[in-house]
Structures are given as C-alpha cells and as structure tokens.
C-alpha cells in the first residue's frame, strides 16, 4: 500500500493537484477586473479628460465593453474587466492612440499597464 502511495503516478498527480490549487488561489486573489494605466501626449505629458475605450473580442466580434475618462495625471482605471484579452484606445480632441492589446493570464486579472497610451 505504501509503495503505491509513493509511486510516481501518485506523486505526479499530487504535485499537479498542488500546482492547480496554488494557481487557483493566486487567481482568486488577483481577479478583480482592474485595469489601470496612463494617457500621455506625443511629448510624454499626461493628458487629462481623454476618453479611454475598452474593446473585447471573441471569435466573431469585437465590441466596446466600456469607457472611462483620464484624471488630471492622465491616469485611468477600469474596474469590471471580465475578459482575458482586451484592447484599449484613448482619444481626445481628434487625437487617438493606437489600439493597445492587453493579453492576460486569466479572466479579470488585475493589471497596471507598463506602457502609456500615447495620443497622436
């Protein structure tokens, strides 16, 4: 009996179960749907009042999931992203940023964007 429990079949199953459990705990602690970032102009200065759109996609369609305004520091924050892949685009007074695709490791992962959205 002891030999069966310590066999490679059981040990690998146990290690996999532990890894899956740990990963699910991590996901549960970091899946609030928060996406934060900053909007800047071509010179790198923060842009207040820019509209930041969030687009979601599936197999056949791509549609807007919401939009927010950037604050005085150019910062923006979405609180209810439920997807694992979204696109962000900022616009203000005829200027637009290129769409930035954000790929996440799991749905609703909290993420703080390293690169700002640059209006051009």
């Amino acid at each position: 009996m002891r030999g069966w429990i310590t066999s490679r079949f059981m040990l690998i199953a146990l290690v996999l179960a532990l890894l899956v459990g740990a990963w699910n705990l991590y996901v549960a602690a970091h899946a609030h749907g928060m996406v934060t970032g900053q909007v800047v102009d071509a010179t790198g200065r923060p842009v207040a009042g820019a509209v930041v759109h969030m687009f979601g996609r599936d197999f056949v369609s791509e549609q807007e999931r919401g939009h927010v305004l950037s604050d005085s520091n150019g910062g923006f924050r979405f609180d209810s992203n439920a997807s694992h892949v979204v696109q962000l685009q900022a616009e203000k007074a005829g200027q637009k940023s290129p769409r930035m695709t954000i790929r996440l490791w799991f749905r609703a992962q909290d993420v703080d964007l390293m690169k700002p959205l640059v209006l051009r």
């Binding site: 490679r8 079949f9 690998i12 599936d58 197999f59 694992h84 892949v85 790929r103 996440l104 490791w105 799991f106 749905r107």
Partner: protein, 273 residues
C-alpha cells in the same frame, strides 16, 4: 577491432539521431507554432520561435469550453481504462483455462479483430441507443470497455506465469476471482500498464464514436472540441496548435509514466521460461 566496433556504434547512433530528429520535427513545429502564433506556411520558415509566449494556451482555455471537454475526455478515458483492465483480465484468465471450444473462441476473437470498427458502427449505435446510453459517459466509453488486442496481451502475460502457482493458490482455497486478483494481476504489471496506456490513448483520440453519439455540446470530448475549434478559427494560428498541444500532453504523460512496463507488456509472451 575495437576501433571498428566503435565506428559502427557511432554510425548506428548517428543514424538513430537523424531518424529521431526527422520524427520529432513535426512535433517541434506544432509546439513552436503554439508558442508564437507564426503562420505555419510562412516562408522562409524560422527554425527558432520568435518572441515566444503562452497566451495562445490562455485563449484556448477561455474561447471554447476547454475545461468541460477535458473533464469529459478524462471521465471517458477513466471508464475505458477501468473496463479494459477488469474485463480483459477476466477474459485473458478464462482463455488460459482448459474448456471445450476454447480454440474456437480464440479464433472467433482473432477473426473479429479483422473487422474494422467502422463496419460495425451502425449495430453499435443501435445497441447503445437501445440501452439508453446515447449522449452519456458510459455510452461514450462502451465500445472501448474491452478490446481484443488487450485480451490477448493479458492472455500472453498469464500464460508466462507458472501453472504451479495457480494450482498452489487453488489448493490454498482461493477461488478464480481471488487467484486473478491476488496472483495473476500482481505478476502481470506490464500487461496492466499496456492495457492502461492503449485504452487511454484509444479513448483519448477517439473521434468518430463520440461524434455519432453525443448530441449535446456539453458532452463533447477533446477531439470533437478540436474539430469545433478548427471550424471557428483560421487553421494556421497559434491558438489551434496550442489546442493540439493541450490535447496531446495528457496522452504523452500517461505513456511516459508507464513506458517501461508498456514495452515489457508488449513483448511478454514472446518467450517463455
């Protein structure tokens, strides 16, 4: 003489390495495409992956009900494995016992191996329907609950066990079931491993039977999910190949875990004594 032997060995290994590389290239290309999303027909092809990432696997996990397909495949595979080990061991044990018509039954089983499954699929479907097992896990596993090849693997393994052991067990008062459980199966681990691997892989890769008897998307298995995925997404993208890798990995893992016993099981009975 030594130098000649060394040269021959090096040449043999060089040939084996080339053959191994040739056989592994398609697998490598699938993994590379899964990690990059490069077009598989891209010319000139890149040997090494450019900017590899794992997001294609995340896409597969969420864009289709992958966890559900995985669960269905695992349940069906477990049923098939259990059925194979239990029923094939019983049949293999029966076939080493002397009884009237044993040879005829063996010939009948061998003859049945020549009939392709596709030829019997309509009666199999009708029987499954009569049993009320369409669109169920048991129905999905039903044709794989016992396979003739695996019966003969058990038979060959049991025949290699000295008859005196069975006689001694019988004299100690053990019945056939306990002889099978306590004497034959513990001495036939390679045959058990072979049954587990073969039935797992057959069940895991089975496409036609699940396609026929599942009527609900929630009951589909991974090969059906793969076909469904292919109809959704362009066939050269990384996500499709990520799906292929995710389907392949469990089968490979089971094989690698039990490969030593598997090879012993396939060669058991080739020689006796």
């Amino acid at each position: 003489m030594k130098a000649t032997a060394l040269r021959h060995m090096l040449m043999r290994h060089a040939v084996m390495l080339v053959v191994c590389a040739a056989m592994l290239v398609p697998f490598y290309w699938v993994v590379k495409t899964a990690l990059t999303g490069e077009n598989i027909y891209e010319y000139p092809p890149h040997l090494l992956p450019k900017d590899p990432h794992l997001f294609n696997f995340v896409d597969v996990w969420y864009l289709i009900p992958f966890p559900r397909y995985l669960l269905n495949s695992v349940i069906v595979a477990v049923l098939a494995v259990l059925g194979n080990v239990v029923f094939n061991a019983m049949a293999g044990y029966a076939l080493i016992m002397p009884f009237l018509g044993r040879r005829a039954i063996q010939l009948l089983l061998l003859a049945c191996m020549l009939v392709p499954f596709q030829a019997t699929i309509i009666p199999a479907y009708l029987i499954t329907a009569r049993l009320g097992l369409l669109n169920s896990y048991l129905g999905l596993a039903l044709p794989l609950l016992s396979t003739i090849v695996c019966i003969f693997i058990f038979k060959a393994s049991f025949e290699a066990i000295p008859r005196t052991l069975i006689d001694a067990a019988r004299m100690d008062g053990l019945g056939d079931v306990r002889i099978l459980l306590r004497v034959m199966l513990p001495l036939s681990k390679p045959a058990v491993a072979t049954n587990v691997i073969l039935s797992f892989i057959w069940s895991w890769n089975n496409f036609l039977w699940p396609l026929l008897i599942t009527r609900d998307v929630q009951m589909q298995t991974l090969p059906l999910g793969l076909a469904r995925f292919l109809s959704y997404i362009e066939d050269t993208t990384g996500a499709l190949y990520a799906f292929v890798v995710m389907v392949l990995v469990p089968g490979l893992a089971v094989f690698l875990l039990a490969q030593k016993d598997f090879i012993r099981g396939l060669t058991a009975g080739a020689s006796k004594g």
